[in-house]
């Protein structure tokens, strides 16, 4: 009890957890940063919940988990019932408990936040999911087979969520994944110290246990023709926003310049940190510049740190404007990442390999369309950082590989698939959700939109 209500600086602000491993220890491995709640801590934390009659937290949850219900079960020590309550609305609770931005969702609106600290809903969700994984999962009921076939393209958060919903409804679901592992960004993007890969694998296995089939190594549009895809009774596109952006500055193709996607994929998916035990290499640098201020930039910086580098994070706006979760910014700083805010790279230096990066300082003036202060370069303020690696984490856009091949599929200016409020595209039996629709967003937003689209697909297949 005492541990939870204690006023550790981070915990009091609800930014970082009391259960975080110390920074100087965790940067030596890829083990999880937050070790999670003990059983006593979870029960005590759950007991703080006011069990509001009209709970704001549920409205703050994109997948609509009955939060008071599962927390009530935790408070009573009834963990199997808590797990059932969670999985009624969310088949990926161990993942969401770790990577959802609870501070702007359920916990952000928790009424307790007004006076003391909000209930640690994310930590409790994770506790319950981890408890269930350790004690043998209990699967939700699956409806009788409907005989309708659904193709789900992509096995990231949106694809897995829709596949789970549709398999539970009794449809024959086939998930197509282009890589050799399922999970999309959960597998190749988010590092193990934030989201251990056995956790991801266990939750994917639960989705498959509902009856969804997974076809790995299948690039739809290449290994499966568009005609074959469209022959399914319903199609759900969840191919994500996997196309990395490059800044377009000189020196970008020098050896030692990575997209965050490549750098993270080499480590998270291919295990390059364990080279030569694993065959895929990644460069090891002494000094690394990471460009960007989002969660992906923090992930890349912290992976580079764990590979032994001194890491500089360069962001064109101020720290308050960073789109990354506050906790990840704090974690990065704790781990010794040096921030250069209000700075923007103008060119990457080097002959064949990177030797440095030239930046210009930025002044923040006016408010732009995104509601943030817009950065303008300050003339004559150029400075150079000596680095031997540069990682660009300035965003990704919808992957055009498949969607550009489907005739009649309406797309927006940025290549995103256009859908109505139910996730339906310009082709009647084709639906889409997640980053392919919105551009790069969060795991839980992708899951929320996927759930909605799955409900619409289900209604369509039932002829409603």
């Amino acid at each position: 009890m005492s541990g939870l209500r204690s006023t550790g600086a981070g915990a009091a602000r609800g930014v970082t957890a009391m259960s975080d491993r110390p920074a100087d220890v965790r940067i030596r491995d890829f083990g999880e940063v937050d070790i999670g709640l003990s059983t006593d801590e979870a029960i005590n934390e759950a007991a703080r919940c006011l069990q509001c009659k009209r709970p704001l937290c549920v409205r703050g949850c994109p997948v609509g988990i009955d939060i008071p219900a599962f927390i009530r079960e935790v408070a009573e020590g009834n963990f199997p019932a808590a797990a059932r309550a969670l999985k009624e609305q969310n088949m990926l609770p161990a993942i969401c408990g770790r990577v959802c931005p609870q501070e702007t969702q359920c916990e952000g609106v928790c009424i307790l936040g007004n006076k003391e600290t909000p209930i640690r809903i994310g930590a409790l969700e994770r506790f319950v999911a981890d408890w269930e994984r350790a004690n043998g999962p209990d699967l939700p009921e699956v409806a009788k087979p409907t005989g309708r076939r659904v193709a789900v393209v992509g096995s990231g958060p949106a694809g897995l969520t829709a596949a789970a919903e549709l398999a539970r409804a009794g449809h024959a679901v086939t998930i197509f994944e282009s890589l050799h592992e399922a999970g999309g960004v959960l597998t190749y993007g988010i590092p193990a110290f934030r989201l251990p890969k056995d956790v991801v694998k266990a939750e994917i296995d639960q989705v498959l246990a509902l009856g969804a089939r997974l076809k790995k190594n299948h690039v739809v549009g290449r290994s499966i023709g568009v005609d074959e895809l469209l022959s399914y009774d319903a199609v759900f596109l969840a191919t994500g926003a996997g196309l990395p952006a490059f800044m377009g500055i000189p020196g970008e193709n020098l050896n030692g310049v990575y997209s965050a996607n490549e750098f993270l994929t080499r480590v998270n998916l291919m295990h390059a940190e364990a080279f030569p035990e694993f065959d895929t290499p990644v460069l090891h640098a002494a000094r690394v510049a990471v460009i960007g201020g989002g969660n992906v930039a923090m992930d890349a910086a912290r992976v580079a740190r764990r590979l032994g580098a001194k890491v500089f994070l360069i962001y064109r706006r101020g720290e308050e404007e960073m789109p990354a979760r506050r906790a990840e910014v704090v974690h990065a700083k704790e781990e010794g990442i040096e921030f250069y805010t209000c700075a923007n790279p103008v060119r990457i230096l080097g002959d064949q390999h990177v030797t440095g990066i030239e930046c210009v300082k930025m002044a923040l003036c006016g408010i732009d369309a995104s509601g943030r202060r817009s950065p303008k370069p300050i003339e004559g303020s150029e400075f150079t950082l000596d680095v031997d690696m540069v990682i660009q984490a300035i965003g990704t856009s919808p992957n055009p590989l498949l969607v550009s091949l489907i005739p009649g599929l309406e797309r927006g200016r940025k290549g995103n698939v256009i859908v109505d409020e139910n996730g339906r595209t310009s082709i009647p039996h084709v639906y889409a959700a997640g980053d392919i629709v919105t551009g790069a967003a969060t795991v839980i937003e992708a899951m929320g939109s996927a759930k909605k689209a799955a409900a619409a697909i289900n209604a369509m297949l039932k002829g409603e």
């Binding site: 282009s178 890589l179 050799h180 190749y188 790995k216 190594n217 299948h218 690039v219 290449r222 290994s223 499966i224 023709g225 996997g242 196309l243 990395p244 490059f246 377009g248 970008e252 193709n253 050896n255 030692g256 990575y258 997209s259 996607n261 490549e262 994929t265 080499r266 291919m270 295990h271 080279f275 030569p276 035990e277 694993f278 065959d279 895929t280 290499p281 460069l283 064949q352 992957n399 055009p400 590989l401």
Partner: protein
């Protein structure tokens, strides 16, 4: 798992494998490639699809690094953990008139499907295949069967024309009109050979072979500069207009992991010595 149906050594360090992979075989077109991963600890490497027969695809590779060395230890009946494809855009096949398809070294592996589709489209197809010496020359009979004319070159003069494919190409261009040229081989060979067609203004394609990871446009490892723009070879290529390609940058980026590749290869060689002939296999 993907079963190796047939494994043959074609020349020193050059192997031909037929792998059962129906989803790749059924959709493969000329110019496309696949990516394979040998086992759970393996890396993903791209290889051109050199032929298709029912549900199997053929790849031809030279042992140049750890993964190709390890692949070469496998035999018919063995299995590969992952095969994905076909990847990349197919070759731009049409009836152009007279086309020349050139393969250098193990790059010859890529030429039969392109030559065949060009022939089927109604072109007069001239093949040029070149190697360092006669014993390294592959697929001669196959190319002779497909092409209307076939020229052979060897660097040492042990077979055919003593010299390079570029020499034959130059001579052809002096004598007659070529409407399209394809060149597949090592980067330096593609750079030099495609330079020959510049003064004749003949549209020339090269198939680029940068380092790749996913092969679906997700990582940008394979980025190349074509006409001053950054392109991803895996999804925008692998074939590009040769006259627009920055070959020096391609060659520079092919060397990113030279040091690591050496470590990996030496470690594998050591394992192999300890485990005897056939090599160490991960399960």
């Amino acid at each position: 798992m993907y079963k190796i149906e047939k494994a043959t050594k074609l020349a020193d360090r050059v192997y031909e494998f037929w792998i059962r992979a129906p989803h790749v075989a059924q959709h493969a077109r000329a110019g496309q490639f696949l990516i394979l991963r040998l086992h759970e600890a393996g890396e993903r490497i791209p290889l051109t699809i050199s032929a298709v027969r029912e549900d199997a695809v053929r790849v031809i590779f030279m042992t140049v690094g750890k993964t190709t060395e390890e692949l070469a230890t496998l035999r018919a009946g063995d299995r590969i953990t992952d095969v994905v494809g076909p990847l990349g855009k197919p070759s731009e096949i049409a009836n152009y008139g007279t086309c020349c398809v050139i393969g250098g070294g193990v790059g010859i592996a890529s030429t039969p499907p392109i030559a065949k589709e060009l022939k089927d489209a109604g072109n007069h197809v001239i093949g040029i295949i070149g190697a360092r010496s006669a014993d390294l020359l592959i697929l001669e009979d196959e190319m002779r069967e497909i092409c209307d004319e076939l020229y052979i070159t060897t660097d040492d003069g042990s077979k055919g024309v003593h010299g390079f494919a570029s020499d034959v190409l130059k001579k052809l261009l002096e004598e007659r009109t070529l409407d399209r040229v394809w060149i597949i081989g090592p980067a330096i060979m593609m750079k030099v050979t495609s330079g020959v067609t510049v003064p004749y203004n003949v549209k020339t394609y090269v198939s680029l072979n940068p380092i790749m990871v996913d092969g679906t446009g997700m990582c940008g490892s394979c980025r190349v500069t074509v006409g001053g723009e950054t392109k991803f070879a895996c999804v925008d290529g692998p074939e590009f207009d040769a006259h627009q390609v920055d070959f020096n940058e391609l060659m520079q980026r092919q060397r990113i992991y030279t040091a690591q590749e050496k470590v990996s290869l030496e470690r594998f060689a050591e394992h192999r010595c300890r485990c005897g002939e056939g090599g160490h296999r991960h399960e």
